[in-house]
Structure formats: structure tokens, C-alpha cells
Symmetry: C2
Subunit: 239 residues, 2 copies
DNA sequence: CGATTCATTGAGCGGTATCAAGACGAGTGG
DNA sequence: CCACTCGTCTTGATACCGCTCAATGAATCG
């Protein structure tokens, strides 16, 4: 058994610990894990975590701030694939291939924890528990992807935006204590791109949701007044 | 070492073997793997592989035919999440939670191979190689999901349909030798639902693609004439 | 052949993209 | 403190596109 003090990171002191990867580890696993994690790397607003096409070496955990993943097509058009909130993993999709499928950019000043792919794979072979955890993480990522997909398939702009708010709310709930507040740390334009809409349409959709009494809004701060109504609006194919 | 003849399935004789899960296994692993696979289960058109909310026990590989996964929301609206072609895995997303997140239904008479989750997890703990394979499979599933997401975020119906054709083409290419032909084994209405469009709109989009000379079409058989043009159309945000 | 399901085609309407102009906030320098 | 500027966001007008509804056409099966 090793002393916690020997660890080179502060996972055991991290506010996100209970939501993070090593939450289920025993002391031995936690120690081994701590050796392959570089915690609290700082990334400034608008800087890239990694770039599309470059060799992917690390899995990241968002500790604070936020990121977006996007890819540019040959035509020059840019599409935003995902947003990453504190506690979420970035780089799962590139772990197998070793090549980054997207570019990840900080939408605000952020802190990340960095895990080496190769060392993680080594640890995974030693600790079956870690293999199960990987399956769980991937399953969650797939489920999250399906939720976004469902959101994208809605025909109405208001439905998509309502759905998007609920998604972010649900994903940010475990960490911030505020059950009815969401802070959208990305520009409206990025949300619009992500949802396959024009920025102006998203703006109007927000205005509708406010006028209907479902939410109040102050710049990027959203407060949910009527979660059920929002849910109804999100699931409604019409409107 | 065990004799191949002892295996209870015919993985070693399967036409899909080179594209399938056990392709990278050595004889020992293949033998062990064969013990937990039930091959060639028959599923008739329109029957469910599993249902949303039920306990998920098996991972499936599509051997022939095809499936769609869909979920029904409280409002009664139904959304089709994914289509599964021969050689692809169904049930990855439900492996961790043990509850089926979607319902999977055969879109034509099909054959599947069934793998028990629990036994697979046991094998995964024994054979590190299998753990790596799981990561690879999940990575592919995530990547596929992102591709679909990109397709959904396109504003134009023609773009979405063109993108969808290319996706199916790319995914069916490794198995059928036909590099420029696609058979869409699902009704147009299902494609429309999946793409967030109306059935009529998809029909018109097909007509456009035909009139522009990108494809020819005979019912559900699609023949690609100009893959580059189709690609251009798919990636074009306008049009 | 009639019955059913699926696919196409047309007419009208509503919603979203587009373009343009204006409002608001934050940061800067006088 | 105020003018200036830049980026982000909002608001308005118009054209286009896809949704809806309804009717027709095509294919499969009993």
C-alpha cells in the first residue's frame, strides 16, 4: 500500500472527485491511476486542446470551464459536434485510432486533467475494474450522443433549443448545486451551428421560450421557470 | 489447444469473419469466444431484437438483413436513432447500464449472432486483447454517431439525403463488393424520420439527386453515378 | 382481382435562412 | 467619465424551403 501523499496530483482533494473517473477506485488503483494523470492543466479561452488530424495521445477530463469539439470539412464549412462540461471526458472517440477526429477548443479559460492513452491501456490490462469503467464511460458517451441526435432531429427551432437547454441542465446538474439554472458558456452562434440553425433563429427561439414563460434569461444565464413546459415544448414535434 | 470442431458455432466458416469481432483472435481466444456466442439466430421482418426499457443481456452482430433502433417518447412520438447493417454491432450503448435504451427491430428477415454481456465481461477480464477490441468497437460506434450527427445538422433536405446515402455506402462497402450500389432495406418513411424530415420531402430529395445526375434509382436500389458530386452536395450548406 | 401498404406528386401555408440595420456589452484610450 | 471600437446579440423584411393535407400511382399479397 502506498501513501496518498506520494501522489503527484490532487485527485483526492478535487471537488469533482465524486463525479470523476477514479471515484470507484480503491487506494491501490487510485495510486496507480494518479501516476498517469497530469492534473490542472490550464487552457486559455479559444486555445485548442488538440487539432483534427493530429496524433491523439491523451484523454482529458474537464475540471473547470468548457470546451467544444468541431471539425472542418473540405468545403470550409465548420460544424460543432459536442460541448463538454466540467466532469466530462474529451477524446474517447480518438483513443482507438490514435488520430484526433475533431478539434477541441476551450470556450472559456479552463482547467483539464490529462491522461495518457498508452499508459491508460496498460493499466486497463492490469485492472479489470478499469476495463469495466471504460465500458461504462463509452456507454454514457454513446447515450449522450443519441440524446443530441434526438435533439437534432426535431423540426422546430424552439424544440431544439428547449431540448438543448434541458440537455445542458441535466448534464450540469450533478456538479453545480443550482437545479434550475444554466450558464451557457458558448456564443449563441456556436449553439446555432451545433443545432443546425442560424444564429438569428436561436435568438428568436430563446425569445419565444421567454415569452411563453418557460425561462428567464440574462445574457448567457438561463433560469428555468417551468421545466415541464420546457420538456413538453422539447418533445413536441409541432410548434 | 482445442479442436475447432468442438466449437458450437461456425464463426470460422462465416462469410463476415474478416469483418467481425473475432477476426483478430488467436485459436485459443477464438475457442473461448465461440463458447459464448450463439450464431445465426433468425429474426423475422418487423420483430424486435429487444425492447426499450427491458433488461439488456446480449450484444448482437448483424449477420444478414438489417435493423433499426428507435425509442418512443412519452408524447408518443417515435424517433429512429440508428440503422444497423451486416457486420455491425447492436447493443453497445446498453452494455454498461444493463437496460435497453432503445428498441431494435428487424427491417427485413435477418440473421444475428448473440453474445452474452456477462460472459463477455468475464472474457474481457481474462484477455486484455478483448479489452482493447472493446475500446476500438466503441470508438467506431462513437465516430459513426458523430457522422450521423453531422448529417442531421445540415439544413437542406437534399444535403441530408445525399449525406445519408454516402454514409450507408461507406458502411456497406467492406462487405458487398459493389462499390457504387446501395440497397436501402428500410422504408422511405423510416429514413425520413431518422433524418428529421417528412417522407414526401425525402422522396423529392431523391428526385432532385436523380435529376442532377448524381444517382439513379429503382425503388430501394440506389446506384451512385457521381460520388464526388454527391459529396459536394452533401457537404454544401446551401442548396 | 381487390386490398393493403408504400411511394409519388401537387397546392397552400408556416417557419427558417438570409440580408441588413440597429442595440448592447466589454474593453480601450483620451 | 466619456467617446470609440469591436464583437456579440437582437430585430425586422423578404424569399425560399419543407411541412401538411389530399389525391394519385405503383407494387405485393391474399
Amino acid at each position: 500500500m502506498h501513501e496518498i501523499e506520494e501522489t503527484i496530483n490532487d485527485c483526492d482533494n478535487c471537488a469533482l472527485f465524486s463525479q470523476c473517473v477514479p471515484a470507484t477506485f480503491d487506494a491501490e488503483n487510485l495510486y496507480r491511476f494518479s501516476k498517469i494523470v497530469k492534473t490542472n492543466e490550464k487552457r486559455a479561452y479559444n486555445t485548442d486542446l488538440f487539432q483534427q488530424g493530429s496524433s491523439a495521445q491523451y484523454l482529458y477530463v474537464v475540471k473547470s470551464g468548457g470546451f467544444k469539439s468541431h471539425s472542418s470539412l473540405a468545403t470550409g464549412s465548420l460544424r460543432i459536434h459536442e460541448f463538454f462540461l466540467p466532469g466530462e471526458l474529451i477524446g474517447l472517440d480518438s483513443m482507438a485510432g490514435g488520430v484526433a477526429l475533431t478539434t477541441a477548443t476551450a470556450v472559456e479559460d479552463s482547467l483539464v486533467c490529462r491522461i495518457d492513452y498508452v499508459q491508460l491501456a496498460g493499466l486497463r490490462r492490469e485492472f479489470p475494474l478499469l476495463s469495466d469503467l471504460a465500458v461504462k464511460m463509452y456507454g454514457q458517451a454513446l447515450a449522450a450522443s443519441q440524446v443530441i441526435l434526438e435533439c437534432l432531429s426535431k423540426p422546430s427551432a424552439a424544440s431544439r433549443v428547449a431540448c438543448f437547454i434541458l440537455i445542458i441542465l441535466q448534464r450540469s446538474e450533478p456538479l453545480d448545486g443550482k437545479p434550475n439554472g444554466v450558464y451557457l458558456n458558448m456564443p449563441i452562434k456556436d449553439i446555432a451551428n451545433h443545432l443546425g440553425l442560424a444564429g438569428e433563429t436561436v435568438s428568436r427561439a430563446f425569445a419565444k421560450l421567454v415569452s411563453w414563460g418557460y425561462i428567464t434569461r440574462n445574457r448567457r444565464h438561463i433560469h428555468i421557470l417551468d421545466a415541464e413546459g420546457l420538456q413538453l415544448c422539447a418533445s413536441n414535434t409541432e410548434l
